[in-house]
């Protein structure tokens, strides 16, 4: 059975968002003397870049929360019990793989 998966890499909106934000975190769209405009001692262009970077972080949060879902946690629960030292699953899958 093929599991229902949602991966960021397959979502057009994720790509569009990342491309737009990547363009915005490169400071190509300022005048070369933009450094003369200061806000509290910080150049305005730098604040805009930081703002765009924060938007990227927020977009990453949104992407992780809503666009990323696989069946791993359903299939395997939330991690093996620590310390049991077993590695059976690994060998089992590998054997299946060989077969």
């Amino acid at each position: 059975m093929k599991p229902a998966m949602s991966e960021p890499v397959r979502k057009r909106r994720v790509w569009i968002g990342f491309i737009v934000l990547f363009v915005l975190i490169n400071p190509w769209y300022f005048a070369s003397d933009a450094g003369s405009t200061l806000v509290m001692g910080i150049p305005l262009w730098a604040l805009i870049i930081l703002g765009a970077s924060l938007l990227l972080s927020i977009f990453i949060t949104w992407t992780i929360r809503t666009q990323w879902q696989t069946d791993s946690d359903e299939l395997y629960g939330c991690g093996k019990e620590s310390g049991d030292g077993s590695n059976d699953h690994r060998d089992a899958t590998r054997r299946d793989e060989e077969a």
Binding site: K2, P3, M5, E7, P8, V9, V14, F18, F22, I25, N26, P27, W28, F30, S32, D33, A34, G35, S36, L38, M40, G41, P43, W45, A46, I49, L50, A52, S53, L54, L56, S57, I60, T61, T63, I64, R65, W68, T70, D71, S72, D73, L75, Y76, G77, C78, G79, K80, E81, S82, G83, D84, G85, S86, N87, H89, R90, T93, D96, E97
Partner: protein, 499 residues
């Protein structure tokens, strides 16, 4: 880049001894709690795939932010001004790049119990030559990375103690402790100590920022100084500066995300939910870490104007010295800061060493040299070869070869050449092993040669040129030669989750 901190001789030794004891304690704790651990590769190298959000977050944190972030970034900001603001978004880029492969790689890691990045490459391509080449590139890059950390530990220790502890003693002391706690508790020790080390570092950089703002004046006075003396430091980059900005975003974003020890951490997450929450936290850390040290560098422009390049390398030490002279609180805070910096270097080194050993254990010894060895033997082989590598690297750190020193500098450039196999292989069933092998080899050679010759066409870093050639060969080679049906069927099964 030695930072002399003459004010703290014995207090420095005290803090370092305390850190050492604490880390060893963590190792013993992890050992006692998980006695069955040494039996299995999963337990030793991935902490039994059971790392929770907090610990996983800090272990990602430790792989991305090292002592160099604190010592090396402020001087760069000092020299370049706001043009070095790129250090904030490039750390966010790392998380963005993760999102293009981590979801699937985690799911596959769970299904096939993958242990190392090479494990995945072997599963996907079933090619001895591709796996061995990838393993060699990774081991080479990781070893150089480790060497850099060792040199930094020695310089940091002798700087912190004002030379009371010589460079060599500092290196040996921390390496012995690092190897001891890693051997005792494997990934768990490494992750727990990463947590302690991360907290120490965060505390230190924030105190440094607050102290600098308070005693040296804030950003407005720095801006006034730049307007007067070097207005270009306030302006956005143009031309070559813009290319540099762009290529740093791409190189660091891709490079740091596919560092083998970074990829391996994906496998050690307790669950997908845990991994996601750790990534979300990581997405905001650049503001609190790179952003803070960037501000420290900018403040330095007004506090210590007119330093030469070599002098500016000592900036953090100078600021810490000046702050420590203010009062007892800042004195101890600065001692802790330097302890935290060394701890951060150690925590980056331990992660690298663990991944190095895991590739030996699993991908070379366990797969090709002695496949029927018990897990215990495989872990032991990884530990011992890791120890030998450490010994060799210490010798190199003490007696740097006069010529060809640059072959010990190649890291990023070589490591990212594994990227196309790792990432393209996740999505493209046609991608074939021969094209991947040719691309990886050509990319690594090109990146190496460009770096050795100091050749940087169009201002773009040699690693990216190698990556471009590598990816082109992978894609063109695959399209031209095609793939046999069995291989494609296998790829489809693996990445289509139809096993």
């Amino acid at each position: 880049m030695e930072v002399e901190l003459a004010f703290s001789g014995w207090s420095g030794i005290f803090v370092l001894a305390l850190y050492g004891a604490l880390m060893l304690g963590v190792g013993v704790f992890a050992f006692l709690r998980n006695r069955g651990m040494r039996e299995s590769l999963d337990e030793y190298y991935l902490g039994g795939r059971g790392l929770g959000v907090m610990v996983l977050f800090f272990t990602f944190f430790a792989t991305q932010y090292s002592g160099n972030t604190v010592i090396g970034y402020p001087p760069t900001a000092y020299r370049m001004g706001y043009q070095y603001l790129v250090s904030v978004p490039f750390f966010i880029m790392i998380i963005m790049v993760y999102l293009f492969f981590a979801p699937r790689l985690y799911a596959l890691g769970r299904r096939f119990s993958l242990l190392t990045p090479v494990d995945w490459i072997e599963l996907r391509f079933r090619s001895k030559s591709v796996s061995i080449l990838a393993a060699i590139l990774m081991l080479y890059g990781l070893a150089n990375y480790l060497l850099e950390q060792f040199v930094a530990i020695g310089q940091g220790v002798s700087g912190l103690t004002g030379g009371t502890i010589p460079y060599q003693v500092g290196v040996i002391f921390f390496i012995v402790i690092m190897v001891a706690y890693s051997w005792l508790g494997g990934m768990r020790s490494v992750a727990y100590t990463d947590t302690i080390q991360g907290i120490a570092l965060l505390f230190g950089v924030f105190t440094l920022l607050i102290g600098s703002l308070y005693y040296f004046g804030g950003l407005p006075s720095a801006a006034a100084n730049m307007q007067l003396n070097a207005p270009e430091k306030l302006n956005p980059p143009d031309g070559a500066g813009l290319t540099r900005w762009f290529s740093l975003l791409v190189l660091v974003g891709i490079g740091a995300a596919i560092y083998p020890h970074a990829v391996q951490r994906i496998f050690s997450a307790k669950s997908e939910a845990t991994l996601k929450r750790s990534f979300i936290r990581m997405a905001y850390m650049p503001f609190l870490t790179a952003g803070v040290v960037f501000m420290v560098g900018i403040i330095g422009i007004a506090a210590f104007p007119g330093l030469s390049t070599a002098e500016s390398e000592q900036l953090v030490g100078m600021m810490a010295n000046a702050l420590a002279n203010q009062n007892a609180f800042f004195y101890w805070a600065m001692v802790l800061l330097f302890g935290g910096i060394i701890a951060a270097i150690v925590s980056t080194a331990d992660s690298v060493l663990l991944t190095f050993s895991s590739i030996i254990s699993n991908d070379l010894y366990g797969r090709y040299i002695k496949p029927d060895a018990s897990e215990y033997q495989k872990v032991l082989a990884g530990k011992l070869v890791g120890l030998v590598a450490v010994a060799i690297l210490i010798v190199i750190a003490w007696y740097p070869p006069a010529t060809l020193y640059q072959i010990f500098v190649l890291k990023f450039e070589v490591l990212i050449q594994v990227g196309p196999a790792l990432i393209l292989g996740l999505y493209w069933t046609r991608l074939n092993a021969r094209a991947v092998f040719a691309g990886m080899l050509a990319g690594a050679v090109m990146a190496g040669v460009f770096t050795l010759m100091g050749y940087r066409p169009l201002g773009i870093y040699s690693g990216l040129w190698g990556l471009l050639l590598n990816t082109t060969i992978c894609v063109a080679g695959t399209l031209l030669t095609g793939i046999n049906r069995a291989d494609r069927e296998h790829a489809r099964k693996v990445i289509g989750f139809e096993y």
